[in-house]
Amino acid sequence: MNKKNNSIFADKAIMNRALKDSVKKLNPKVQIKNPVMFMVFVSAILTLILFVFALFGIRDAQPGFILAVSIILWFTVLFGNFAEAIAEGRGKAQADTLRASRRDVMANKIPSSEQRHKVTAVRSAELRKGDIVVVYAGEQIPADGDVIDGAASVDESAITGESAPVIRESGGDRSAVTGGTTLVSDWLVIEVTSEPGQSFLDKMIAMVEGASRKKTPNELALQLFLVALSIIFLLVTCSLYAYSLFSAGQLGKVNPTTVTSLVALLICLAPTTIGALLSAIGIAGMSRLNQANVLAMSGRAIEAAGDVDILMLDKTGTITLGNRQADAFLPVDGVSEKELADAAQLASLADETPEGRSVVVLAKEKFNIRGRNLEEMKAEFVPFTAKTRMSGVDYKDNEVRKGAADAIRTYVQESGGVYSKECDRIVKEISNHGGTPLVVAKNHQILGVIRLKDIIKSGVKEKFSDLRKMGIKTIMITGDNPLTAAAIAAEAGVDDFLAEATPEGKLDMIRDFQKQGHLVAMTGDGTNDAPALAQADVAVAMNTGTQAAKEAGNMVDLDSSPTKLIEIVKIGKQLLMTRGALTTFSIANDVAKYFAIIPALFMGLYPALGVLNIMRLHSAASAILSALIYNALIIVVLIPLALRGVKYREVAADALLKRNLLIYGVGGIIIPFIAIKLIDIILVMLFGI
């Protein structure tokens, strides 16, 4: 999946396919799925029949007029089809790419991990859950599975679009592999976890293509409302015929309404704009999510994302940069700061970890201590081990070590050195303020402490405050102790935190929030996250995560980015807002349409009603046609908005409502007055009607 964000209209292939599809969708079986547009479809057929009758002398109205109405109605239907087709376009193109990577390959099936040599060649499509296969470098992984033996780098670009290979190994949280990806090095033994046709890739294809798209509850509710409105308007037009007949009878005049004009009125009033764009909005929302490299397992999950008011965010990667950085040298026992910095830099020169590098950087910044050539100094690097929990260098009989406070303490005390009270105090103080102390010792004598701090990502504080304005609380999840966590939480501006987080702790917290009526979103990757993921309302599993995590979540983030949650919430809200905005716009339009059509129809009966013709439209025919043409064109005009979504801002609900009401409500009342008048002028110029 590419993250290309260029306009969908620029893509000729998608355009052409959409044009073709909009004609294909004229099939009544397709049309009936959208009741509002089905009504337009039936009206188009009805007017066409009326036109044919008119040709044979049974005239409802002027044949030319009936034909014009019929043509506009057909276009209205086509425009609606086109909106849906183009929204599906990008997904279909994505699906094609994915399908290409799902080719059938020969898999090396083996009886068990120990008997790797007993290979039977099986077609990948025939692999079942529980089968065991071995894959070697250069081969494609034949099916979804868990690595049970070996470690290898895998190119997952077919799915994630990320070209850098990732490591997959047995055990732990990196054991899941996806069918269709390719091994770059080494070998893996994989236990297949999906049945044929139900693999991740299959699901993905179905999702992006919209084939498995079910109408979401909110979409259904909205459709219900639109159908009800359409029924009301159907009754309005039918009863209008009766009133018109009655009034004409009372006045002794000819009934001015025709079936054609009433059909035109019906279609103008019916919420065709939102009716035509409704499914496009849903598909486009899904498509935006896919472009963000997130796969939702259902449309429902996106809507839930809009409702989320608690975000549980992992500290590392989301709130803080992945690594701690040195930010101060705190000497003890009368050692000078420079002396400490010098030793610390020396101990870290060969240390390639980000923490080690940050010590070197800090020493250079503070005391301009330059890099030294360790080889010249005949220095020997002592790497960090789980046993010593220290690292450092040995040179010219000197020993420099840095490490966790208790490790260094043991180290100096074993050789008779002193771990001073001052050092202890500083170490504790650093811990209490959310930092990590690294104690430096030279020749078994403590020089001082390096303070490592979590670095809060730039901009997160503002982001969280924006989210708070929208009523979304952020909870930081961290394995740190409560003191450290509290300090970071305060600095980052999160609303709450869960320290020393365990999977059970997360699960309990989610349950607690849900009991209070909150909707919770979280990300997770490990198998032990699965229960919490299953409990959360929006659960995003990392693609690098385990199979269990992916199954428990309702979305998968292919980028495995911890900040993705915020983007997902944005997409969810934008989808709902777009739906609401276009519904409001569609209904608001009716005011102008009434003022166009009612005076046009009844000025013959009551000339005084001409006062209501505030747009001063030319004639009854031009008024009805203008309103109908506007009604059809507005669908096309709004397609980009439906696909892109309305503008999203992180502000409180009432500010958001005010803004959207002003644009789509008030705008929806005013715009059609102007547009219909313009169309009327053009019609008069072109045809003189």
Binding site: L224, I232, D590, V611
Partner: protein, 585 residues
Amino acid sequence: MSNVAIQMIIYCVILIALAIPLGKYIGKVMNGEKVFLSRIFVPCEKGIYRVLRLNKSDEDMGWKKYAVCCVVFSIFGFVILFFLQMFQKILPLNPEGIGGTSWHLAFNTASSFVTNTNWQAYSGESTLSYLTQMLGLTVQNFVSAATGIAVLFALIRGFIKVKQKGIGNFYKDMVRTVLYILIPLSLVIGIVIAAQGVPQTFKAYDEVELLEPIEVENEDGTITTVTKQVVPLGPAASQIAIKQLGTNGGGFFGVNSAHPFENPTIFTNLLEMISLLLIPAALCFTFGRNIKDKRQGRAIFIAMFVMLAIALGIIGYNEQIGTPQAAQGTTVAMEGSSVYSGGNMEGKETRFGIATSATWAGFTTAASNGSVNSMHDSYTPIGGMIPMLLMMLGEVVFGGVGCGLYGMIGFAILTVFIAGLMVGRTPEYLGKKIEPFEMKMAVFICLATPVAILIGSGIAALLPATVGSLNNAGAHGLSEVLYAYSSAGGNNGSAFAGFNANTPFLNISIGLVMLFVRFVPMIATLAIAGSLAQKKKVAVSSGTLPTHNAMFIVLLIFIVLLVGALSFFPALALGPVAEFLQMIG
């Protein structure tokens, strides 16, 4: 004009001042909390439960059971009322010996009274016996009003309860409503208006000498001199009190509250006028109190009140300036003076004048009361259109007791649905998510009235027989048809006069319309209550659409007007608007 405005403002202030404490009282009654009347009524309540064999251990009904109880209870009332009318000739308390009614009139009247509509295709004094009036109509005035309030209580419980099935007990709600709310208020009003001169007697009609004999021309051209007048009497005060309080509106006498025996003085007029809107207004405050967020109740009250105020303003203004026809050039002065009301006085009692008549017209059509103290048929086109529109809106501007508010809550659900999406969340109201089921039911609540009015009046307009029922031709004729079906479709019951509704077609079609618009929204409301009660409560945050601020009030008003306008713009354009434009044109 300022005279009219000042009077209207005073009426509204009195209304609000009384509604707030009453709302609190009703809220307590609903919850079974202690009130100052508890000492008297708790024993009665217990006694009734004992007779009904209702256990103390609250039987909390699910919504379906509650709905079945409502409907069966109404059917029971319908059957009794239907046969009371048909057989009143052989039943007691019929001093005038009035005969049984036709079956279609009995159907119409029974539908009308069990649905709290009180549309009257008959004239009480010449058609119904005292027994029918008391045992049939007055009883229905009480229980049909109580049913509406009970359903509202059930809905309120739906909002309060979390993950529960029950929405209360129908019988308890009914008993409490009648006992603690309707009976005490009716007693007070009934006694006061009886003291003011409204009859309350079983005596037969009186006959008095006319002060001035009248000569009447017979069909064959001969002339009869009339010297005596029959004065109808009956147990009127007891019925009039509840007809006003329960938003029933069915007059004891044909011309309703314009009759001097129903509404003898300007004081009874004030009392009756305030009491017709009192409970519907109070229930808004009850709602806020009992869902434990007074701001929500206040918001709905303000939305209703703003619409009422606008309506009163338009009616008052139009009636005062009259029409060029009424002014007959400059022959008739339209401006009022200290001795002369001015304006359009056709169809209005001189003792009430413009302001009081216009206020009553607004109140009675805002509330689905339908009693009248002037003839709406004679109003100016726009002055008459507003009462019609108030009914077309579905009687949600206060509306009937209970049903007006639950109708408005239906509109509030529609409003949060559309507006809620625009803030990027799936819609919720008072902490409950609005999903397809609630939406479907809300659509039934909000659209039942437009559907019924459009179908009913559409068919009526097509039938040649309808023309025979009209008093006027042209645009005003269409207004008369529209008004009749709007009155039934809003469960209002007021008549546009001039329209003879006692024909088999009109009796049956209007009867069906009344039943439809009463029970469809009622069952839908209970369905919503049941569904909401089972949901969890969503926490409120700054991302939640606020439903108590000015913006929401404006939106709610807008949605109510929009649904009304979209449904009835063409109809009104061909009726009152065309008439108005012709007059000024």
